[in-house]
């Protein structure tokens, strides 16, 4: 039976500068991140023949190419990438779906060196404003009640994503205050990470508990902060990676098929948990390993409660037991199974799935605080195109 396991390698990774507001354009940040990933692999732009991105900046508004949004065509034109053989740019999904497509394209030989990137620009305006007085389509079932959604011009993701957390807390008789130890641990990790937007800025339990609520049970500190910046990976085939000076990391397995199965305008906890579990099972199955073989976790945390969501979906913790696990020291940078040691999105900023992907790759390259041989990264909301990736070392 054909298996994609270990046919594709991540040979490089790179960040642009990450900041709350940048003076650089989205194009500058994109090129900086991609160039860093290419050079990290010991390559140049001349080698690049595949491009993949998820260009959405999540309802930040504007449509000027290179400033508000940046697709593969813009980059290929700007840099004159005439050797390009393959590309993908998905408007819906996540960077996970795009990365999965790039892995597959490399595996079947459509291109040799693919850059996969996600860059964000959040202009200084009110994020997620919904100003129209007319609601059409799916929006008509949300907007009249004061709820936006991630896929309309109005954003409103905080309101929409607050619903499932209320179900989680009620079902397992937990409280939002029990999240505090995780947030403090996470911000301690981010404080140590020079690239993080919250570098050098740890917080206390009371900082978390006193943060303003936006949409109960989510407060400001349960949401990742919009930033300007980008991250990139350089993918190549395993045999080509062996010729490069960098330490390659192999894609053991992946799955990117997060679907909102519920035909309602509401996100349901069970739908999220089902999808997260399914994505984990698929990726581990493709990797031919079990969750106990994974040595580090880089979990997508656009909202704080995605951490217990993934921990429980992956079988690390029983249903409703994540807060106990964390309170007992689970997931700490020094623990057997570290979680988001570079700070995740909550600590690094809203960079979609790149903090998780780059962290997992660097774990396996033995370049991070936690050195592991097999790392799992989850990317995106499990009902909005999310994915799970397992990376393994060369040995």
């Amino acid at each position: 039976m054909y298996s994609i396991r270990r046919r594709v390698a991540v040979a490089g990774s790179g960040w642009s500068k990450i900041s709350r507001r940048s003076n650089c354009t989205l194009a500058d940040l994109t090129i900086e991140a991609c160039t860093n990933a290419i050079e990290d692999a010991g390559l140049t732009w001349d080698h690049v023949d595949g491009l993949a991105t998820y260009p959405s900046t999540a309802g930040a508004g504007g449509s000027i190419e290179g400033i508000d949004t940046l697709g593969v065509e813009y980059l290929a034109q700007t840099l004159g990438l005439r050797e390009l053989k393959w590309y993908i740019s998905l408007d819906r999904g996540t960077i996970g779906a795009v990365l999965a497509a790039a892995i597959n394209a490399i595996a079947v030989g459509l291109c040799d060196y693919a850059v996969v990137w996600k860059a964000m620009h959040t202009p200084p305006t009110s994020y997620g404003l919904y100003s129209t007085e007319v609601a059409r389509g799916e929006t008509q079932f949300r907007a009249p009640y004061g709820v936006g959604g991630p896929y309309n011009a109005g954003g409103g993701a905080v309101a929409e994503f607050s619903f499932p957390y209320s179900q989680y807390l009620a079902r397992y008789k937990r409280t939002r205050e029990e999240m505090a130890p995780y947030i403090v641990q996470n911000r301690t990790n981010a404080a140590e990470n020079e690239q993080a937007v919250f570098s050098g800025r740890p917080i206390t339990i009371s900082d978390y508990l006193n943060a303003p609520l936006l949409c109960d049970p989510l407060s400001l500190l349960d949401c990742d902060m919009p930033v300007d910046g980008g991250g990139a990976l350089l993918l190549t085939r395993a045999e080509l990676a062996d010729e490069l000076p960098s330490d390659p990391v192999f894609v053991e397995g992946h799955a990117a098929a997060g679907i909102h199965f519920l035909r309602t305008p509401v996100i349901d906890w069970d739908d999220m948990a089902f999808n997260a579990h399914r994505l984990g099972q698929l990726a581990l199955g493709n990797s031919q390993i079990g969750i106990s073989d994974v040595e580090s976790l880089s979990l997508y945390d656009g909202f704080s409660y995605f951490i217990p969501l993934w921990l429980e979906a992956l079988g690390i913790c029983g249903p409703g037991e994540s807060f106990d696990w964390i309170a007992a020291g689970g997931g700490a940078a020094s623990a057997d199974l570290p979680v988001n040691v570079s700070g995740g999105n909550l600590g690094m900023g809203r960079l979609h799935g790149m903090p998780q992907l780059i962290e997992a790759v660097r774990h396996v390259q033995q370049r991070s605080v936690s050195k592991t041989n097999r790392a799992l990264a989850s990317v995106g909301s499990p009902v909005h195109g999310g994915g799970v990736f397992v990376f393994g070392s060369g040995g």
Binding site: S126, Y127, G128, L129, Y130, S131, T132, E133, F141, R142, A143, P144, Y145, G146, V147, G148, G154, G155, G156, V158, A159, S162, F163, P164, S166, Q167, L169, A170, R171, P212, L213, L214, C215, D216, P217, L218, L262, T264, P265, V266, D268, W269, D270
Partner: protein, 84 residues
Amino acid sequence: VSGRGSIYEFTVIRDSRIAGFEEATPFVCVAVELDEQDGLLVLANLVHCDWTEASVGRRVEVSFEQIREGFVLPQFVLAASQGS
């Protein structure tokens, strides 16, 4: 459908980004699971009660609220009887 159900999930919106709701905060949005079918969720506001009264599992029933002339929205109110 009967218009009766239970609060399945909810949120209290304190920072609205939607035009017309700026002065309404805090207000409660509920995903109501209707009695007729498991998983049949309807989104609306919980009205005519304090926002602190919302909780998962509470019984609610529909109330057709006139928002302005010619504009009626199905909303939910706490049910008189909290038994199922």
